[in-house]
Amino acid sequence: EPEVTQTPSHQVTQMGQEVILRCVPISNHLYFYWYRQILGQKVEFLVSFYNNEISEKSEIFDDQFSVERPDGSNFTLKIRSTKLEDSAMYFCASKVTGDSNQPQHFGDGTRLSIL
């Protein structure tokens, strides 16, 4: 069965450094998402992306964050200048249509640790 793949599985970065989290969504999916889960807290929506542009972003997704689909397969989340509070598990998800009944398929996540 097709899967969403995320790399790396664990990223350790110094505060203030830039980090790029990578995702390869399922190949025929058109809608892409990033979520994050701070340790001990609920999973939170960050951003949705469709037709090469952001369709919605949360309050968390400030100017330090950006997303890109640089080619036909990758979907990346960049944090320009990381803060300690960016430490979290970041999940990428994709779905095939915009129908709200369609489930999102998640990757295994990238654990980001900011030192």
Binding site: Y33, Y50, S55, D99, S100, Q104
Partner: protein
């Protein structure tokens, strides 16, 4: 606005006994509801989804959930727990009717422990 509330943060059952994980939702229209499971150090796996076709929804690994509009509930059940069911379970609602967003709104999760 859409929301879900998971009523128990931790549930512990013995292997072979029934599982009940409770979820209540709030929605101004017919919701799209999901249950996801997260095993340690793994991603979020879809267990089942409710999409108004049937109120009793069967999912993977013997889990099922019943949509009760009168109670605004979508509880997850399994007749007999297995050790491999130990994980965190999330009740999730999809925001919006459709279109480019449809972000998912997660409950706080229920950690299921299965005792031998």
């Amino acid at each position: 606005a859409q929301s879900v509330t998971q009523l128990d943060s931790h549930v512990s059952v013995s292997e072979g006994t029934p599982v009940l994980l409770r979820c209540n939702y709030s929605s101004s229209y017919s919701p799209s509801l999901f249950w996801y499971v997260q095993h340690p150090n793994k991603g979020l796996q879809l267990l089942l989804k409710y999409t108004s076709a049937a109120t009793l929804v069967k999912g993977i690994n013997g889990f099922e959930a019943e949509f009760k509009k009168s109670e605004t509930s979508f509880h997850l059940t399994k007749p007999s727990a297995h050790m491999s069911d130990a994980a965190e379970y999330f009740c999730v609602v999809s925001a919006g009717y459709g279109g480019a967003t449809n972000k998912l709104i997660f409950g706080t999760g229920t950690l299921l422990a299965v005792q031998p």
